[in-house]
Each structure stands twice: as structure tokens, then as C-alpha cells.
């Protein structure tokens, strides 16, 4: 049953990921990316981490993708939309990518790996918070400073010069 759900989510994730790359209109690829991110959140639920799934949906789908769509709507994309998507000249690149991904998948499947913790390993919000605010307190603070710096930088860079 779990395998069936995994295959379902994985199929939709790969299909929408391909759509992000191949679709011509940036708005459509943003919507495809939203679908892909929601599928990944569902996979996080399958990995017994509903908290991370919620974080993924809130931050990625709720904040990042809305930001993307805002920028696509602010900027005039009509000329860019008209540009064709010709990977004709990029056949070499596509070939290299195919070879690399075949190598990676083969490597992953040939490596012996365990199934996962059998005895109900359930990371709760409490256990995540306990580790985050004790062992990883310093990286946490650094990340908050990075966020603040990014906030200020984004406003300063995007502001219209007088």
C-alpha cells in the first residue's frame, strides 16, 4: 500500500518536474513546480515527518512560489514567452544529462542499503525542536542572520534608483 502511494507521488513529481523544464510559458512552469513541491511534501509524510511536510508547503508553496509568480507578473514576459524552446542545439547537453542520471540511478540501486527503522521512529515537533535548539543552536542563529541579510538585500537591490 505504501509502495503504491510512493509510486503515485513519484510519478506525478517526475512528470511535473519534466513539465517545469520543458513547458514554454514561465507561468505554466511555476504552476508545475508547485505541483512537484506538493508531491515532495506528500513524500515527506510517507517518510513519517508531517512537520517537515507542513514546513515545505508553507515556505515553498506558500512563500517562494508566490514570490516567483509575483515576479513573473511584475515583469513583462510576453517577449520571453514567444521564444521557442529548442533543445535542438543542446542535444549534447541532453545526452550528457541522460548518461549522468542513468549512472546515478544505477549506482543507487547497486548500493546495498537498509529499509529504515522498523520500530516506529516518529520525529515529532517536540523532538525536532529539542535537537534544533540545543545541538544546532548556533547554525540556527546563523540562518536567522542570513534571512535578515537577505531580506534587507532584496529590498535594497530591487528598489528603484532615483
Amino acid at each position: 500500500m505504501e509502495k503504491l502511494f510512493f509510486l503515485m507521488f513519484a510519478a506525478v513529481a517526475i512528470a511535473s518536474g519534466l513539465a517545469v523544464v520543458t513547458v514554454r510559458n514561465p507561468v505554466h512552469s511555476a504552476l508545475a513546480l508547485i505541483v512537484c513541491l506538493i508531491q515532495v511534501a506528500a513524500l515527506f509524510v510517507l517518510l513519517r515527518s508531517p512537520f517537515l511536510a507542513a514546513v515545505q508547503i508553507f515556505i515553498y508553496v506558500g512563500a517562494v512560489m508566490v514570490l516567483f509568480l509575483f515576479v513573473v507578473l511584475i515583469l513583462d514576459m510576453r517577449k520571453a514567452v514567444l521564444q521557442a524552446f529548442p533543445p535542438v542545439k543542446k542535444r549534447f547537453v541532453v545526452g550528457v544529462i541522460l548518461v549522468l542520471s542513468a549512472q546515478m540511478v544505477a549506482f543507487v540501486f547497486l548500493t546495498p542499503m537498509g529499509l529504515g527503522p522498523a520500530q516506529g521512529w516518529e520525529p515529532t515537533v517536540e523532538s525536532i525542536g529539542r535537537v534544533l535548539f540545543t545541538k544546532y543552536l548556533f547554525p540556527f542563529e546563523v540562518v536567522s542572520v542570513i534571512l535578515l541579510a537577505a531580506l534587507v538585500a532584496a529590498i535594497v537591490i530591487a528598489k528603484e534608483r532615483q
Binding site: I14, G17, I97
Partner: protein, 100 residues
């Protein structure tokens, strides 16, 4: 029980799709979205290994990755708006003021 290998194979496939997007597309916005796809596939990897080993560290790192990706997108889109305002182009090949 889903084998961890499947998750890692899925993340490898998503990563390569994102890499293909970065290398073949010329629209700046789509290139940025492909980078997001790659970051997200790395998150799947972190979560799968965290689940396999029964260790919290992967979860914590996923939180950090998501946060840094959000910061990166904010700065990148700010730069993008300034760039399009001055250059009037979305083609990454035409943005070559630094002669890279």
C-alpha cells in the same frame, strides 16, 4: 515499507531534471525554478537518509536548506528585477556585463 533506495533514485532523477533545466533553458526565471527543483531533490535525500538511520540530523538540515533556499530566492528575484529593469532581457546568454 518503501525501500530507501527508491527515494534516493527519485531524488537523483529530480536533480538531473533540474540540472537539465539549468543547462538547456535560457529564460532566467525558469533557470531559477530549476535550481529550486535541485535544492528540493537534495531535501528528499536528507529526509530519506534521516529515516533510514533513525537520526534527527537530516530533518534539521532540511529545515536549514528550506530556509536558505527561501533567502536565496528573495535575493535572486531582487537581482532579477534590477537586471531586467536595466538590461530589458530575460535571456541568460545576453546578460554578460561581467564578460564571464
Amino acid at each position: 515499507m518503501v525501500p530507501v533506495t527508491w527515494y534516493i533514485a527519485l531524488s537523483a532523477v529530480l536533480f538531473m531534471i533540474g540540472a537539465a533545466g539549468v543547462l538547456t533553458r535560457r529564460n532566467v526565471i525558469v533557470v531559477l525554478m530549476s535550481i529550486e527543483l535541485m535544492l528540493n531533490s537534495v531535501n528528499i535525500n536528507f529526509m530519506a537518509f534521516s529515516y533510514m538511520l533513525g537520526d534527527m540530523t537530516g530533518q534539521i538540515f532540511t529545515v536549514f536548506t528550506i530556509t536558505v533556499a527561501a533567502a536565496e530566492v528573495a535575493v535572486a528575484l531582487g537581482i532579477l528585477i534590477a537586471l531586467v529593469r536595466s538590461n530589458k532581457t530575460f535571456n541568460v546568454d545576453e546578460i554578460d556585463a561581467l564578460k564571464g
